[in-house]
């Protein structure tokens, strides 16, 4: 905003503020109507009681927050954190080298590689998840391949391994793209300078490349972690509902248990956790 103001040095201060307001109003209206108001409603629903058919009975209670501390629900949250963190870590380990290699490609091939990365997004999400069911199922492609190699069938479908596989597959591009953007922007002279000063390739990576791309690592990790943490379709389809994540829990409160206030409380807890995470990320990005 500041730079925008500077761009019009002749206008009087008041006009500048008015102009800024005019240009900001569509965005502000969007945020207020679609973000702040729903969030306020969500917040208010957490302190009321469950209606018999769902809905809200407007009688004050703190019971929803007490239930949040029930070890059962805490367990679900911890399990979701675990699965999302594992997904993020693997995505980083796979995504960083991928992004690094794409950045080294000639210009023409870069485009091809990037299109290939986002290509799966052109197909419906549910269809892609169903494809994994076919791949991983007992007589599926993965197992018949392993059998042919004499590695014998493995039981993956309807386990937590299948959930992580599905999450990883769905969100890996969100890790690769910001990393690629950051690595591609790096000034090659910095690496040359590092090499000239006698650093090995590994030292250059550790002391120059990686620290400079750390904000992108954080961004990519958030992009993968956030949707993984709240996902409920993949645990249901690939995990066989045998282990639930916090997204399933929230969905079930609204659609099965008819317990909107508790669902709102769980959703609020999710929002708070993710906002804390975002704050941590921006703090680290500023330090980097």
């Amino acid at each position: 905003m500041k730079s925008e103001v500077k761009a019009r040095p002749v206008s009087p201060a008041r006009g500048r503020r008015l102009g800024a307001l005019v240009f900001l109003s569509p965005g502000l209206a969007y945020l207020v109507v679609l973000m702040l108001v729903p969030l306020a409603l969500l917040l208010s629903d957490t302190v009321f009681q469950r209606g018999r058919f769902g809905g809200i009975v407007y009688e004050f209670t703190t019971e929803n927050f007490e239930r949040l501390l029930d070890p059962l629900y805490l367990n679900v949250v911890v399990n979701s954190l675990k699965l999302a963190a594992l997904t993020t870590l693997i995505a980083l380990l796979l995504g960083y080298p991928t992004a690094y290699l794409i950045a080294q490609l000639p210009r023409k091939w870069k485009t091809v590689a990037l299109v290939a990365i986002v290509l799966p997004f052109w197909t419906n999400f549910i269809i892609r998840v169903y494809a994994w069911i076919m791949l991983l199922s007992g007589p599926g492609l993965v197992n018949s391949g392993l059998k042919a190699l004499g590695l014998g069938p493995i039981e993956v479908l309807y386990t937590e391994g299948a959930i992580v596989t599905g999450l990883l597959y769905s969100y890996l591009p969100l890790m690769v793209l910001p990393l690629y953007a950051a690595i591609d922007r790096l000034d090659p002279q910095l690496r040359e300078a590092s090499a000239n000063l006698g650093a090995s390739a590994f030292t250059t990576f550790r002391k120059v490349t990686f620290p400079l791309t750390l904000p992108a690592v954080m961004t990519g990790s958030l992009f993968v972690f956030v949707p993984s943490f709240g996902n409920f379709v993949i645990p249901e389809l690939l995990g066989g509902s045998k282990s639930i994540m916090v997204g399933n829990l929230i969905r079930d409160q609204f659609l099965k248990a008819r317990d909107w206030p508790f669902g709102a409380t769980l959703a609020l807890a999710l929002v708070v956790a993710l906002v804390l995470l975002l704050l941590a990320q921006s703090w680290m990005a500023r330090r980097a």
């Binding site: 729903p38 969500l42 469950r50 018999r52 809905g55 007992g138 008819r258 669902g263």
Partner: protein
Amino acid sequence: MSRTRFTRRLPATMAVVGLALAVAACGGGSSEETTTVAADQLKPNADLSKQSLQVTVWEGYLPEELPKRVKEKLKVENMNIAYHDTNETAMAKLTASGDSGVDVAFVSGQYAQALNEQGLLEPIHPELIPNLANLYPEATQLSYDKGNKYSVPYTWGTTGICYRSDLVKTPPTSWNDLLKPPAWADKKVTMMTTERWLALPALKALGYSVNTDKDEEIEKVREALMAQKPHLLTYDDTTFGDRLVSGEALMVEAWDGWCPTTNEKQNIKFVVPKEGSDLWVDTMVIMKSSKNKEAAHALINYILDPEIHSWAAENINYKVPNKAAMDRVKIAPGSLLGITPAELLNGESIIDLGQASTKYSRLSADVKAK
């Protein structure tokens, strides 16, 4: 055949992506105000051409050409059908504001009971529905609404074990065959995930009521389900029939209408375990807020016509509580349409438990979380 129920529930899994928060956000109050119309104001000879009908029903649950035929036959101004995918979404629709705009709603028995207890339903006026005489006598003795005071049954059925008779070593007879599967069925059984049906097999195996709200009984059920979990293929509400056909599963907990017993290639059979089971009924109710009550009664009367009502048995394979309609239906060998009303009435109706139903939600989360 199981496709109908499939479409009834699958959207709940899919279409809701991202909706949960929106639903949370729009949490308007469930106002209990309704326009009260005295029960005896209905006129048998009302001019239906000034009334139009809004119906909410599960997709695929009524003949597609019904609105057109209703308009021709009953001379109502218009008939519009909206769909809900689960009872819960129907409830949200019907209770979200004083006047939902819905005249006739299709919901399961325990939900009709709950709606009535909230004073949202118009009493049924039997004099406006002569076709009530087509119903089996048993269909007027349903525990959630004895005498059909505020609901008219549309379809009914029960829950049991659906299994591959060509692949099982011994046919199942007890819920325990599912809860403690023998070695040959290890990881080849599925259970339903919807809360009350998740608990049903263990409740019945332990000799409890399907409507229990006793903590110690629910705890025993939890233990049984936890012990079963390592031997389970998956929890599945929608595709268990396909899993039997593919051989991925050998025994599944199933609603009778969803068990593909008439599949000719495989030998799929259905059994109601000896410990007993439930009786579920999907009903038609008229909202108290309706401004078209005469037309609503006329519609229900028309649906109870044997020709219309038998459509459900012939096309979606659900038993209908209408004797005149069932008499028209040719029942294929092995078809579960042959289960008699008397057999069905042995099942215990699932009733709405009010606040105690959160115990089943917690049970379901607990079993799946570990």
